[in-house]
Structure formats: structure tokens, C-alpha cells
């Protein structure tokens, strides 16, 4: 954000009940301004639900606080200027151009029946430039590869100029190189703009490599949180993922997770 101010994010006692089933129970987290928090956990743990509830897309109990503002007290437009969200499978209208899609990020700044200003277009153009997407501006979304698509979704979120970025599985369906490219990009933007980033990530090694802190969710509850080395431990992963793994410290001290085949195969 301009001005160098960063916004810490706090969540207290967040709970989501869908169709009578408690999907997230009493979840709490905190991320310092400009930090990257990764939410990890087995399938069905409630990771995406947690993110959606934080964005206000699902009915929930508990509090989400950005800076010193309770998100619940905000109008949707005000909230969208504080938190930007990219879902796991964004729906991309096939004929819409990259530029027009990016420009949608200005929605929270445009009056209900108003239209985009020259400044909105400028901001969208600048974001595309920054993400090396300027050459794609006029291309329809249907004509993008998976990696390009993920970058365009990021561009849309950045155009929102919100200090908090919620990304649900930003590397889904990307090959190794593109996963790295997208996560490096998120990190560069985080450092450059002081963005507070929360991502769900199913790949534990990636989560351990990029995030400042991890939150391990299982059965809708937070079962561990803290620096990657404290969360990615062999006993915790065995208990909550039912996986046999070996965890070793990488060159930079961050944990690397390796799957182990059973001995009796």
C-alpha cells in the first residue's frame, strides 16, 4: 500500500455452520502487517471455508479485524477496499478481456451506478504492466494458459489495492515451474507493497518455503500454528494427515517434507 502502512489481520473464535454441520469451529489466527500466513490441512479440513468466511462470503460467528477495524461493521464496498480475495477456481467469463477483468478490481471504488474513471483504468494498466501482462491486455480470458490465468486473477486482486490479500490455493493445477513463478510473484508483491497475505496451500513444502507462519487446520479446528518448523513436524503430520513423512531442515532452515513409502511394500 502506498504510504508504507501495513495492516495486521486478526481472527477470533470464527465459526461456520453449513446445513447444520460445523465446518469451522472457534478458529483464531493472527498475521502481522506484511506477513504471509499459510493455512494448511487435510482435504475437507475447512481451509477454503475459513477464507470465505473471513471475506464475509459465508454466514459466520466470531470476529475478523483488519488493522483496528472490525470487518463486520463495514459495508461490502468498504470491506473490499481492505481485503481482496481470489477463490480457488475463479470463474473467468471466456470472452472478457484481460484488461476488463483486471478493471473489475476497481469495483469497490466505483459508485453503484457510476463508471470507471480514467484513474481506474490507469491503475489497472499499471498493475498489468507490473505483472508482465501488458501484452495480454486485449486477449480474451479463454485464450490464456493456466499460469497466465492465475497471474490475471492476481492482477484483478491487486487492482483492488487492498492491504490484505486472501488467496485460496493460488497454485492449483499449475506445474512446478508455474507454482514457483506465482508464489515468487506473491512474495515480491507482499514485500514491495507491505501486503498481508493469507493463502491456503495443499503443498506442505511450498507452504513451508514461502510462509512466515503456518496454521494447521483439521476437522475445522486449529490444531497447530506458528513458524513452519513448529507446525511441519513428523508427529503432527502423521496424526492429522495420516501420512508417513520425513521432515528435514533445508539450507535456509525451513522445513522440507518428504513422503516415505511403507517398508513392507
Amino acid at each position: 500500500m502506498s504510504g508504507g502502512r501495513t495492516y495486521p489481520l486478526g481472527v477470533r473464535d470464527l465459526g461456520v455452520t453449513l446445513d447444520g454441520r460445523e465446518v469451522v469451529v472457534g478458529a483464531g489466527l493472527s498475521a502481522g502487517g506484511g506477513e504471509w500466513l499459510a493455512v494448511v490441512g487435510p482435504n475437507g479440513a475447512g481451509k477454503s471455508t475459513l477464507l470465505k468466511a473471513m471475506m464475509g462470503l459465508l454466514p459466520h460467528v466470531g470476529e475478523v479485524v483488519v488493522g483496528d477495524v472490525r470487518v463486520r461493521d463495514l459495508k461490502p464496498r468498504e470491506r473490499a477496499r481492505l481485503i481482496a480475495y481470489a477463490p480457488q477456481s475463479p470463474s473467468l467469463p471466456p470472452d472478457m478481456t484481460v484488461f476488463d477483468y483486471t478493471l473489475l478490481g476497481r469495483t469497490p471504488y466505483i459508485p453503484y451506478l457510476g463508471r470507471e474513471s480514467a484513474r481506474d483504468r490507469e491503475i489497472a494498466g499499471a498493475v498489468l504492466e507490473r505483472l508482465d501482462l501488458a501484452g495480454f491486455a486485449a486477449r480474451p480470458l479463454a485464450h490464456l494458459s493456466g499460469g497466465e490465468r492465475q497471474r490475471v486473477v492476481l492482477a484483478r486482486a491487486l487492482t483492488q489495492q487492498a492491504p490484505v490479500l486472501l488467496l485460496d490455493e493460488p497454485t492449483t493445477a499449475l506445474d512446478l515451474g508455474h507454482q514457483q513463478q506465482v508464489l515468487e510473484l506473491v512474495d515480491r508483491l507482499r514485500v514491495g507493497d507491505g501486503l498481508t497475505v493469507v493463502t491456503t496451500l495443499h503443498d506442505l513444502s511450498l507452504a513451508g518455503q514461502y510462509a512466515d507462519a503456518l496454521l494447521l487446520l483439521a476437522g475445522g479446528r486449529v490444531v497447530a500454528s506458528g513458524p513452519p518448523a513448529q507446525v511441519l513436524t513428523e508427529p503432527l503430520l502423521a496424526r492429522h494427515f495420516g501420512a508417513r513423512v520425513r521432515v528435514e531442515a533445508g539450507a535456509d532452515g525451513r522445513p522440507l517434507v518428504h513422503l516415505l513409502r511403507p517398508d513392507d511394500r
Binding site: 477463490p87 470463474s91 469495483t107
Partner: protein
């Protein structure tokens, strides 16, 4: 680019309206018609040389008929575009939420139970009330059945309400089979209602059209889905409600004066999208202009091919519209994906 497209559509509409005024069973001279029209302009005084009876045909029959066709066609097409935007479904049409079934039922009721002249006079009001009532019922059912009023539940509610109302309508018709022809001639559509009906729908047409045109950008935002639109700070449910309200008002007023004309509401927005792109800021105004031109020409065909007899306009729109639609689909196949 956008301005040019709009201008082309306006010219197309004016040309079709000119054709609608110049061609007809009475065989009035085109020159006389043009002069008579000029004569009606402020500060212009020319002698058209038209006999009073021809003047009557022009100003009391053809002109209101062309205007009514244009307004009805425009309303149905822009309402269809609005429905397609709200439901993010290319198969949505203005009758999706029970407008047609509601109107059909109420018209049947007044024709059967009031009968005669009183019944005929009440038809427009009955159709309007029925269309609004059908959509309201579907909306209420959809909202109570589905959490947060999702679009899928709403469509299903529309289907259920349509079958239910149609069943009642069929039952009532069976009670009084001798009225069937009158009911069906209303259903098949007619834009020959004269000035009275033009003035009747103009206020509704203006309000609903302006409301829809103002929502073009918001429908574009909705096209990325409810969750993301909400994430962008839009109250998706409210936008959907307002657009549905405006589109249903447009549909109800069109149905009130013209019956259940098929095809315009679904085909015109598609053709527009194929030719002019995805954005509702373009699709909505072009649908109105295109729908207006399409129905004026449709009516021209309906009253001339078998002159002096007339075909029901609903038959013509489907008969001419379907091959036209297929042709556009084929021609633009490479552009679409």
C-alpha cells in the same frame, strides 16, 4: 467503436420503421406518406396529397402499430438480456420466471369468466398483473427454498411455478372450450392495439429500460460469479433483484399489449453478443434496438405475406427468427469458443 455500433443499430431501427410505415395492404404512395410525416413535424407545412382515409390508415393504424412493435420488441429483447445476465445462463428468456404462465392464466380467467367486451377490455391489465404475479411467486418460492436466493433455485422455482399456473390455465380452458380460439389468438401475439396501448405501456417501458441500461456495468461484475462479485464489494442479491424487477416489468408491459411473442427475448441478445461482444453495457442497448427492429420487420411480414389476411406475429418471429439465428451462429462460429 461502441458509438459506431450503436449508430448502426439506430439506423437499422429507423430503416425498419420506415419500411413498416411505407409498406402495407392499403397501397398508399410512399411519397405521400413521407410528405404526410414531414407535415406533422413542428414548423413544417407541406401538402402530402393523401386522401383523409389514407391519412387515417397511416396515423391511426400503421404508425401506432410500428411504434408498438418497436417498443414491445425492444422490451422483450432487453428483458431477455437482463435475465441472461442475472442467471449467467444463455438459455434464460424473459418468460423464465413464470411471466408468460402468469399472464396466460389471468388472461384465460378474464376471457372465460368476464366474457365478451368486458373480458376483452380487461385483457391487458390481466396480462400485466398475471406476469408480475407469476414472477413474484417464483421469486418468493425460490428465496424461501434456497439459501441466500441462489440463481439455480430461482430457475427451478420458475419452472415449478410455470407448470403449476399452466396446469390451472389448461383446466380453466377445458371448462369453456368455446373461448379457446380467443385465448390462443391472444397468446400468438398481436401488435395492432393502436395508440391507446402505445400510451399504456410507454411509462413502464421508459422506466424499465432506463433501469436496465443503468445496470450494464453491474451485470458485467456479476458475470464472474456471486462470490467474487460479493468479494468486490457488490451486493449481488440486490443487483439481481433490481435487474429482475426491471426486466420483469418490461416483460409484463410487453405481454400486456402484445400477447406471448416468442423468440425475440432469447435470440436477439444472442445475436447481439455474437456480433458486438460480451459486455452488458453494449448488449443491453443493442438488444433493445435490435429487438425493436426485429419485431417491426416481423410485423411487416405478418401483415403483408398473406394480405389482406394477417399471420400471428408470434408465428412469424419464430419462423423467420430461427433460420436467421442459425445463420448468425454459423457465420460467427470461428469467433466464438
Amino acid at each position: 467503436m461502441r458509438t459506431v455500433t450503436l449508430l448502426v443499430a439506430v439506423v437499422l431501427l429507423l430503416a425498419s420503421m420506415a419500411a413498416g410505415l411505407l409498406v402495407g395492404a392499403a397501397g398508399i404512395s410512399p411519397k405521400g406518406i413521407l410528405l404526410a410525416l414531414l407535415d406533422r413535424l413542428p414548423f413544417v407545412d407541406v401538402d402530402s396529397g393523401l386522401a383523409p382515409v389514407d391519412q387515417g390508415v397511416l396515423f391511426q393504424l400503421r404508425l401506432p402499430r410500428v411504434l408498438l412493435a418497436a417498443i414491445v420488441g425492444g422490451l422483450l429483447a432487453i428483458a431477455g438480456a437482463g435475465y441472461q445476465g442475472v442467471f449467467r445462463n444463455p438459455l434464460a428468456d424473459p418468460y423464465l420466471l413464470g411471466a408468460a404462465a402468469g399472464a396466460g392464466l389471468c388472461v384465460t380467467l378474464v376471457v372465460v369468466f368476464l366474457g365478451g367486451e368486458a373480458g376483452v377490455a380487461t385483457v391487458p391489465v390481466a396480462a400485466f398483473v398475471g406476469a408480475v404475479g407469476g414472477v413474484s411467486l417464483a421469486y418468493a418460492v425460490g428465496n424461501t427454498a434456497g439459501r441466500g436466493g441462489g440463481t439455480a433455485t430461482l430457475v427451478l422455482a420458475g419452472v415449478a411455478v410455470t407448470s403449476f399456473l399452466t396446469a390451472i390455465q389448461t383446466f380453466v380452458q377445458q371448462l369453456k372450450v368455446e373461448e379457446l380460439q380467443r385465448i390462443y389468438s391472444w397468446i400468438l401475439g398481436d401488435v395492432g392495439g393502436g395508440w391507446e396501448q402505445v400510451w399504456m405501456i410507454v411509462p413502464y417501458a421508459v422506466v424499465s429500460t432506463i433501469a436496465l441500461l443503468l445496470h450494464g456495468r453491474l451485470l458485467d461484475v456479476l458475470s464472474v460469479g456471486d462470490d467474487e462479485a460479493t468479494g468486490l464489494g457488490l451486493r449481488a442479491g440486490r443487483v439481481r433483484f433490481v435487474v429482475l424487477l426491471a426486466a420483469s416489468l418490461a416483460t409484463a408491459s410487453a405481454v400486456a399489449v402484445s400477447g406471448l411473442i416468442p423468440f425475440v427475448g432469447i435470440v436477439v441478445p444472442h445475436v447481439v453478443r455474437r456480433l458486438a461482444g460480451w459486455s452488458y453495457r453494449v448488449v443491453l442497448p443493442l438488444s433493445f434496438l435490435g429487438g425493436a427492429a426485429f419485431l417491426v420487420l416481423g410485423d411487416l411480414v405478418a401483415r403483408t405475406v398473406l394480405a389482406p389476411a394477417e399471420l400471428p406475429i408470434g408465428v412469424v418471429t419464430a419462423f423467420v427468427g430461427a433460420p436467421f439465428f442459425v445463420a448468425v451462429l454459423r457465420l460467427t462460429r470461428k469467433v466464438g469458443t
